[in-house]
């Protein structure tokens, strides 16, 4: 690749370097770096499976160029929490059965996280609007709606976990 260059990406709080050409998307770069929790669903912004937070804002990583992300904080679903220290959204998705096949879950949770930064006490319709770019084929969105609502409550109680 004639126009490849090394870029440093800060992913879930750690700097990682990857040599990529200009047209390489953040999705491809993240997956090549082993962050396969970021899912590839359509590569054109129709499904939201690849959503990550870039400086706290949810973006489709398939529509974001890796080069443009140098200097930004990138957060994937694995950066939000883990089994030892789960994010309230993750707890709520488990407890309320919001993950079925689970392929949309990483993007769905990230999109919900980005949205709950702005709206801390959302209505059903707020949540529906925030998640309309995240397709799910298994759940009918009902339990996802419940989980996001419940997580918002947990987050308000915790005073907002970052």
């Amino acid at each position: 690749m004639s126009n490849s260059k090394p870029v440093t990406l800060c992913i879930n709080g750690r700097n990682e370097e990857i040599n990529v050409p200009a047209h390489r998307t953040l999705l491809e770069a993240l997956r090549d770096l082993g962050h396969v929790e970021v899912k590839r669903g359509c590569e054109k912004g129709d499904c939201g499976a690849c959503a990550v937070l870039v400086d706290g804002v949810a973006l489709d990583s398939c529509l974001t160029l890796a080069w443009m992300c140098e200097g930004s904080e990138i957060t994937t679903v694995s950066g939000l929490g883990n089994a030892q220290d789960p994010h309230p959204l993750q707890t709520a998705f488990i407890d309320l059965g919001a993950a079925q096949c689970g392929y949309c879950s990483p993007g769905m949770i990230v999109a919900a996280k980005g949205f709950l930064e702005e709206v801390t006490d959302p209505t059903d319709d707020d949540i529906r609007m925030a998640l309309s770019g995240n397709l799910c084929r298994c759940t009918g969105y009902a339990k996802i709606l419940d989980a996001v609502k419940h997580a918002a409550l947990l987050m308000r109680e915790e005073g907002g976990k970052s």
């Binding site: 047209h23 489709d60 980005g114 309309s132």
Partner: protein, 285 residues
């Protein structure tokens, strides 16, 4: 390979315009259209100028006369802006049904204008506000009415060395209503089948001004100027509004595609124009 391109990431407008002055570079704003087109190879840019780091292009302000929106302002920015809610309520309605959250976070006002799609959701509202587009180029700036910006399907008057830098519109007259409706095949994250934006203002019980903009029913977003003229200066009645709606439908030029037929689109123009005008007038009265 064919999807490859050179990428410039200038920090300033001046640098961006410098790169664009080669006349064969493609500006990249939110990327939600261009990168999709690159992937499908509908677009094969040699050189891409990413505007993400250019300062001074993002923000919403009121300069005393006009609302000014920087071209890099995102759709989400619009949704959160009290200024927009006040000065261009139809834009909020359009932003609410604009794709999904991630695309709203990335997609920009300038990008939506520049993609020049007849189905671009922000254009009918902006046209109904008489918005103007400011272009900066190596040879200087110019400001043109959005209504004169498009020349055909995906054709606009921007020269390759120019960038859209801002969109602005004057405050609506005191007694005005500005509305938008998007008809699509589903509610969330949908491509427009037909959209309509209207502005009506009233003075002394009469229609002082009318703007009707139609999306996805012609090669580009269009104003329905004859129906506008029909209404201006009149006391609006249901009959007059119906006539205007019929005229709008007669004058648009839709096509058949996977989403809907031309016949249905024309029918919907008539329904929606009539409906929005009536609602707007009733709110004014």
């Amino acid at each position: 390979m064919s999807r490859e391109f050179d990428l410039h990431m200038p920090d300033s407008l001046e640098d961006a315009l410098n790169v664009l002055s080669d006349m064969e570079s493609t500006p990249l704003a939110g990327g939600t259209n261009l990168l999709v087109d690159v992937r499908s190879q509908r677009e094969r840019p040699k050189r891409v100028v990413a505007l993400g780091r250019v300062t001074g292009l993002r923000g919403i302000s009121f300069d005393g006369e006009k609302t000014v929106v920087g071209a890099r302002t995102t759709i989400s920015d619009l949704l959160q802006s009290p200024e927009i809610a006040n000065s261009g309520p139809s834009l909020i309605e359009a932003a609410r049904v604009f794709a999904g959250q991630m695309v709203r976070n990335a997609g920009t006002v300038g990008g939506n204008i520049a993609c020049a799609s007849p189905a671009a959701d922000l254009i009918p509202p902006l046209m109904s506000l008489d918005a103007e587009v400011t272009l900066a180029g190596s040879s200087g700036n110019r400001t043109v009415a959005l209504a004169d910006y498009y020349q055909g399907y995906k054709q606009d008057i921007r020269r390759p060395d120019e960038l859209i830098t801002r969109i602005s519109w004057a405050q609506l007259p005191r007694n005005s209503v500005n509305m938008f409706y998007k008809l699509a095949r589903r509610k969330g994250d949908a491509i427009t089948v037909t959209s309509v934006a209207v502005t009506l203002s009233m003075s002394n019980g009469k229609c002082a001004g009318a703007r009707i903009a139609l999306g996805a029913v012609a090669p580009c977003v269009v104003r329905a100027k004859e129906p506008e003229q029909l209404l201006e200066g009149q006391i609006l009645s249901e009959t007059l509004i119906a006539d205007a709606a019929e005229q709008a439908a007669a004058q648009c030029n839709p096509i058949d595609d996977v989403r809907a037929s031309a016949v249905y689109r024309r029918h919907c123009v008539q329904v929606l124009v009539g409906r929005l005008l009536l609602q707007a007038w009733n709110r004014l009265a």
